[in-house]
């Protein structure tokens, strides 16, 4: 590890932190339906959208109507994206003349983009037409992110309101997320990305004749516009197979820092929006402090492991001073690759600028574990906040048990019904991750997909289902996932991880919004202190440890000791 490496990491976090308050305030205004500086430009568009869609923007919804609207909208998005991929061969904007996407792959991909996972069983530049990339995938990048933000805001309102029946209007929250937050930021970022060197053209590819006279076909496309929303919406689905390691998706150090900044931006700022909307910004800062504590520790572990390199390769004569450079790009080096890997999985982005499969065992353990922690550091846009609020409720419950008081969070009593819903939400992920992983290890055809033998093979499967159920989308990419078994089970894992998690949380919002807000007394456990942050961090780590330690011990941890012993498979 070097000082310059740490300086780059510090700069990235610093750039995010200075934006938390201004963007958080702006988003609070957007969701409180207040006037913003964008209203003159976008107000008419917004109202036009409501009128054409038959939406009564003034009418609010209870939790069930809100959830049903969200499900209907996501179902429509799924059907449209699936159809677009199946029909791409006969639709325009297909310069490379790609054929129809196979049914199992189209199912997997449509699920993947609708659930904000952006797992990719395919290579973008060899599978998808420009029309699918733009009108299909880019659209869902916006809408799945807007859906996540809307749901988080509904849960925040459940804490902010006292004795109310409604949590907002899904159509309005979703539309305002897209129009006022995601689209303006994407436009600016996409243009900046082109300046850094990302292509933005409708051309499919260009042929070059190298100095040695060979032909090189270079894939091109509307990369920057997709890249901007892919980062801002913590989607992570790349235009190219190599994702943000591809020089066109991430040409240099500036684009790299901007990529990391833009994926952290909204999720981090939403904690401020939350604090603002519940009337106590310290509550938001406390959640952000817990998120960043774990995330920065994770960055340090990954950076340390990757900078140490691989002793097996060092024994062959490779200079260990350069760290583990297999699957990494020279322009990023070890520090920015480790930072990217930790951030993309602390979030639910899943974009990568290096290949996690080729990380050292402990370096690769970090992204795997961060996904399993529930992607709350600071998590996907929206999904990170509601995930963190679930942990906060669990924390006050544990604290309440210790002193024998009915737990409260933000003035709302946490009772049996809330705890049942919290536990239900929390158990969906391990069920999907460990259940499908166990099944895959017993199916010979599923094991044929492995690229690596030994404990690393188990890590590949475990990572795939963690990524799918956690709606992350990054991969130990050696696994050949484009098979009917993986496309189907990973698709189901994504659905469970997204909707199986969201529905109990929305029921929780419905239950909380109806409760009267209590005023805090001397006996109330304060939830903005360092003590609370420490407890919250502890609860997150203990839950994940109980759920996943056995599986991790059989995968990356045992592989670490085998690597030190010089064993190869």
């Amino acid at each position: 590890m070097t000082g310059i490496g740490w300086l780059q990491i510090a700069l990235t976090f610093g750039l995010v932190l200075v934006c938390v308050k201004p963007l958080g305030l702006f988003m609070a205004r957007v969701f409180n339906r207040e006037r913003t500086f964008l209203t003159p430009a976008l107000g008419a568009v917004e109202n036009g959208f409501y009128r054409l869609s038959g939406i009564d923007a003034a009418k609010e919804q209870g939790w069930l109507a809100y959830t049903l609207a969200m499900l209907a909208f996501n179902a429509a998005g799924f059907v449209f994206l699936y159809a677009l991929m199946r029909l791409q061969a006969v639709l325009p904007l297909n310069p490379q003349a790609f054929g129809a996407v196979a049914p199992d792959l189209a199912f997997n991909t449509a699920t993947s983009f609708v659930t904000n996972t952006n797992w990719q069983s395919y290579g973008g530049e060899t599978t998808m037409s420009h029309l699918v990339q733009m009108a299909g995938l880019t659209v869902q990048n916006f809408l799945s992110a807007a859906t996540g933000i809307a749901l988080a805001i509904a849960l925040v309102r459940a804490f902010a309101r006292s004795g109310a029946a409604t949590v907002g209007n899904f159509w309005v929250d979703m539309t305002r997320s897209t129009l006022y937050i995601l689209l303006p930021l994407s436009i600016v970022l996409a243009l900046v990305f082109v300046i850094t060197g990302m292509p933005q053209t409708l051309q499919g590819s260009v042929d070059a004749t190298t100095l040695e006279g060979a032909k090189q076909t270079i894939a091109l496309g509307p990369v920057a516009s997709q890249e901007a929303i892919k980062q801002l919406g913590t989607n992570g689905g790349g235009f190219f197979n190599a994702n943000a390691a591809h020089p066109f998706e991430n040409p240099n150090a500036i684009s790299n820092i901007l990529s990391i900044w833009s994926m952290l931006l909204i999720a981090a700022a939403l904690t401020y929006t939350f604090g603002r909307m519940v009337g106590d910004t310290r509550q938001g800062w406390a959640l952000l402090a817990a998120m960043l504590t774990i995330l920065i520790a994770a960055v340090a572990v990954a950076y340390w492991a990757e900078a140490k390199g691989n002793p097996i390769l060092a024994a062959l004569g490779l200079d260990p001073a350069g760290g583990n450079m297999e699957g990494k790009e020279v322009r990023f080096g070890v520090a920015m690759s480790a930072l990217y890997a930790a951030v993309t999985t602390g979030l639910s982005c899943g974009c990568v600028n290096s290949m996690h499969d080729s990380f050292t065992p402990l370096g690769g353990l970090v992204p795997l574990l961060l996904i399993q922690l529930g992607e709350v550091l600071p998590g996907g846009v929206g999904s990170g906040l509601y995930g963190m609020l679930v942990f906060a409720i669990l924390t006050v419950f544990v604290a309440g048990l210790m002193v024998g008081r009915t737990p409260e969070y933000l003035g709302k009593k946490i009772e049996a019904r809330e705890m049942k819903l919290v536990i239900l939400a929390l158990l969906i992920l391990p069920l999907a991750i460990l259940g499908f992983t166990a099944a895959a290890t017993q199916i010979p055809s599923a094991l044929e997909s492995l690229a690596n033998a030994g404990p690393h093979g188990l890590s590949e499967i475990l990572y795939a289902y963690s990524s799918a159920a956690g709606n992350n989308g990054s991969a130990f990419g050696g696994l050949t996932a484009n098979t009917p078994w993986y496309n189907t089970t990973l698709g189901l894992g994504m659905m469970l991880g997204r909707f199986g998690y969201i529905v109990p949380i929305m029921a929780l919002a419905g239950s909380l919004v109806g409760k009267t807000k209590l005023t805090s007394t001397a006996g109330t456990f304060p939830t903005h202190t360092a003590l609370f942050v420490g407890l919250l961090v502890g609860v997150i780590l203990i839950i994940a440890g109980l759920e996943y330690f056995p599986a991790l011990a059989l995968g990356p941890i045992v592989e670490h000791f085998l690597m030190l012993a010089g064993k190869t498979f």
Partner: protein
């Protein structure tokens, strides 16, 4: 449920038009007018032909050129389209090796590359010289890896080594503001500089 159908379908159609058609086309329009170079792939032209992209690495086999890092990209086998063959620096299909740290295949491949580089007289092989990049299209090598190739290229071209070392120094891209990114040499640009007529 039908009450949700109209807003779901109509709002989706409007969002497709706005974020899926208007947004990418507007960005394309602006980029194609104001930022033509990067928007079209940062292509390098030489004597009227496109020789490559500044951002995309290329394979160089000849002793007369500096060579890039190993690349793990592949392409469909022309004889049997269900199989793939190794095609380094295939810019139509980016990919890393995805070999894990305890992979025997990785150790064997690295050993082969280490031995090849060591044959050129190096004591320790820089980490990037014998490892495959994440994209398989890494346009850069470290300055150390470039310097290791000086003797070979100088011999093949019959030019003094000092001249090549000076060229590498000139072509080395430093860290932005002194700390952002890593020191690196763009292999294609270095090789083009080799070919440039001496002034």
């Amino acid at each position: 449920m039908l009450a949700y159908l109209r807003p779901a379908v109509v709002l989706l159609a409007l969002m497709v038009a706005l974020t899926g058609i208007a947004y990418p086309l507007a960005i394309t329009g602006v980029a194609q007018v104001a930022l033509r170079g990067p928007a079209n792939g940062s292509l390098i032209e030489r004597n009227g032909t496109i020789v490559g992209s500044e951002l995309i690495g290329q394979q160089f086999a000849s002793e007369r050129y500096f060579q890039p890092r190993p690349s793990a990209t592949s392409a469909p086998d022309p004889k049997d389209s269900t199989k793939t063959v190794d095609v380094p620096y295939n810019a139509a299909n980016s990919s890393g090796s995805n070999l894990g740290p305890t992979s025997k295949k990785l150790a064997d491949r690295v050993k082969e590359d280490v031995d090849r580089v060591k044959a050129g007289g190096a004591a320790l092989v820089p980490a990037d010289a014998a490892t495959a990049s994440a994209s398989g299209l890494d346009p850069h090598i470290s300055p150390d890896t470039a310097n290791l190739q000086v003797a070979r290229v100088a011999k093949a071209r019959g030019v003094p080594e000092a001249q090549l070392r000076a060229l590498i120094v000139r072509e080395t891209e430093g860290r932005l503001l002194g700390f952002l990114g890593e020191q690196r040499v763009n292999v294609l640009k270095l090789n083009i500089a080799l070919e440039a007529p001496r002034s």
